[in-house]
Symmetry: D2
């Protein structure tokens, strides 16, 4: 364990914090940075080095993981005035676990390549709970011969590490999955609501769907109708889970990718609009399965 070389970690938010701690648990010395200094406090207590900038991290570690909220943050952390690429060492391995536009991932990979470093995108699926438990899924894009090096670190934080192809395909896989998830969740909410109004018992309807061709993860594992399943956000007033605002963000990325590639996504774009409207109607922090409640509300007239 003592021989492990340090790993940089930038972005210590709700997800980054438990991810970095899992690296520590696996014996890696970590060198951390966050734009909010207080986010580093936990790690100082754990004996980690706390630095002043992404460039500082790059000076001291040749393997760095970043976990950031959006494309502009990722650009700043990599290519900004005090960014990683200002001081990155040749041969360094840079792994970005943010969910961002795959076009930006490719730009960052190119910029990294110009400095002699290797950049891989490795967005995650699974939320804070999975980050704490160390069983995230990582979808990894980048040069295949570097995949094993990345996997060594990522398996400390996740139970599934999947190689998807060239740089950007990790993001692509995540975006496509979440777009389909949003569509089938809204579809489940519509079908359950229509069935209830036509006189069906919700538990019975869910059972019928789940043994038929309407079956999907949203109907059989994460049903959005209160009373149908236990242990899911719909059983707990849509608290916890995957927030509507995060789903809206991912659908925005899907929309931008579809626009850039001239791909028609009629239901994906409509799902985006629905989650956008929900954010504006007070659902931003509720689980995305609350679309059932959003569509369910009765006309009071």
């Amino acid at each position: 364990m003592a021989s492990k070389t340090p790993v940089g970690f930038i972005g210590l938010g709700n997800m980054g914090n438990p991810m970095a701690k899992n690296l520590v648990k696996h014996g890696y010395p970590v060198i951390v940075y966050d734009v909010f200094p207080e986010a580093c406090k936990d790690f100082q207590d754990l004996g980690a080095q706390v630095t002043e900038s992404p460039a500082d991290v790059a000076e001291r570690a040749d393997r760095i993981i970043t976990m950031l909220p959006s494309s502009p943050h990722a650009k700043e952390v990599y290519t900004g005035a005090n960014g990683i690429l200002k001081k990155v060492k040749k041969g360094s391995l840079l792994i970005d676990s943010s969910t961002i536009d795959p076009v930006v991932s490719k730009e960052l990979a190119k910029a990294a390549e110009n400095t002699g470093a290797v950049f891989m995108d490795a967005p995650v699926s699974g939320g804070v709970g999975a980050a704490l438990a160390g069983n995230l899924t990582f979808m990894v894009g980048g040069v295949e011969q570097e995949f094993n090096a990345a996997k060594e670190l990522l398996t400390c934080m996740g139970s599934n590490v999947i190689y998807c192809g060239e740089v950007g395909t990790g993001q692509a896989a995540k975006i496509c999955n979440n777009m389909l998830l949003a569509i089938s969740m809204i579809g489940t909410a519509e079908a359950m609501n229509l069935g209830i109004r036509l006189g069906l018992d919700p538990k019975l309807l869910a059972k019928i769907l789940n043994m038929s061709s309407g079956r999907c993860w949203s109907s059989d594992t994460y049903n959005p109708v209160p009373g149908v399943m236990e242990g899911v956000p719909s059983a707990n007033n849509y608290q916890g889970g995957f927030g509507t605002t995060l789903m809206a963000k991912d659908l925005g990325l899907a929309q931008i990718s579809a626009t850039n590639t001239k791909t028609p996504v009629p239901l994906g774009s409509q799902a985006h609009q629905i989650y956008r409207m929900m954010c504006a109607k007070g659902y931003a922090l509720k689980d995305f399965s609350a679309v059932f409640q959003f569509l369910r509300e009765e006309e009071s007239l």
Copy 2:
């Protein structure tokens, strides 16, 4: 076996023909009618009684199954000038396996009740193959105490017979399932197409979706992308399966039910429009998973 009383069967099309034959195989004498006399030929050869009208069937059998293409046909067969209700015997059991508007099912049930007969709606899922093999699923709505009597007959033709609730709920269950199916099929086609254009291998993407929250029947059992699975319509130029025009019809029923109950179905109505456009663009007779091909076509510019 010899003691079995005759069963009437009206509507001997692609589905009705094998369904009625399965009744014969189970030892029921059948009394048949179809608006096209040649459709009765098979049954004449099997020794069945062929009649001149639905009313004739009702005169000779007190259990009747109907399998018709749409609401107007069902109205005509039950309440027309030579319809079943003109000569139905008190206490008769009338089972309609057509897929029609649940409002019409309720009207027919009321009209039947006025003559002292019992009407149940029992639409099927599963196509011609399941009808031949006798493993259809029946979703049954109607008075609960008559369910066992209906089930006795329906189990000759199907492997699943589910009681859904009062009259019309069989239709409701079918409509809701097929609406969700259409939505998740289009969603799967969009997600697969977007992923491919973003550089992902289709088999790998399907695998990732199927182990993630995007998983659905359309992705894991009936994938619409040629080359991903074998034995599905997408592997056979979208021949066989469930035709786009039939899906468009079911989505029209869902739309009418949603309009009547003031239920918002934003993705369901968009799915309806997409299948409607496909019908007009030459896809009417292809399997409904051909939406992948419809969305896939490249701009030639």
Copy 3:
């Protein structure tokens, strides 16, 4: 004036009341019926005959106008147990100004024809204000040779009386206009909202649209953005005008007509869903231009 023969009027609600009064002003003796007896009070005071049923009206008048809220009401008034057709005289002229499914108009026309009467559909555009002022627009469908007889009465209540074609085309014209209106109103709201968020002044943006190809009645005559125009519902907290719930009803009729004729209406069906959602979110009684407010709400996060 004294020689004018009486005219029947059935349905004395918000619209029917002022319409019937305009007939009285033009010297026609009226014979009235409404399902709520108190609605007839005004007319008793004016010396009109008040009757007990639609059939009674038909016994005493050979020209009858009906103004009813929906298809089932119209069916009941014409073909119910005490309906017009029970006692209608041969050669009577029946004019239905309700907004209903054109399929129902055709059914009623056929039923009237069987009794030797003539039925025309003549839905109106213009709201309560236009009904009071006697400047409604009537869109009339039916046998062309009866149009002048209908026009004689309708010009007492409206300033435009347009012959549209065979029975049902009056409804068709109204439904098509209102569907396009709903689409362009939502489009105007989206464009104004997007422009404002991109930094444009709303009045300036409206001016640019109105001199450009985005110009429409919703942008130049009934702008949905508060502060852009005076004398419109958006200047008065969306009070008055054409209620969201009425627009949702008309879009439901458009949807049913489109489904019946297999016509793709992707934006029309989406507009229907949006107005349906607005009804469920407290906008039912606000003017339909309140869609700007519905889409405008900011995310509070």
Copy 4:
């Protein structure tokens, strides 16, 4: 006239060519550049200076107009290795008439400001015909005190020059107008198609819409139904006019702006998808009013 100082013009395509010629007609010496040297031929014959790069143009002219197909082209022309900003003189006026993402306009304005130059966005409405006739409409964003200097040049090419606000608002105005245009064009096509299928004469229906609340530029000036109007693309097999592929591009920009500002645009995004699908179905080069034809096609079944 002789005293006029030269004006640079970069981008001599279908639109740029006649625009630059109108500057010449008004007596301005022009200094031109295009990535395709043959595009400069016309101007060489007219005695204009032809240069080797945008930087060359910037060295010789302190007023420059650019007319480019998309955001990446604009970035390259302004900030590329041989871009304008490499050699621009302090105080130069840079006017970009391309239709691009307003975010990119703002980035270019900032980059120009860093070199001491002023950047304005001035996209046009009106097509090749208006460019030839010199009656384009310019929507201008940028520092207000520079507007008159810009207007002096733009009035040589257009009949309307509108100041919209800070940098990017010219793009915003254009994007919003075109989004509303696309929505009302599709809405008009849907309403006309539905009306025709319900039995209305198309000319009569157009007349009714145009005197009612459904009226819009697409119905009264550019009706998409063949036979309703003369002198519009629908009267000429949808040739000429504004191509479907260009509309799809503008709707993509609207979509990106809406995503960036978290603005719900449910019909705008659906219009984008419809024009995207049309491009893939052979309509790319037809006028955008061909959506009527696209939706009109009958089911052959």
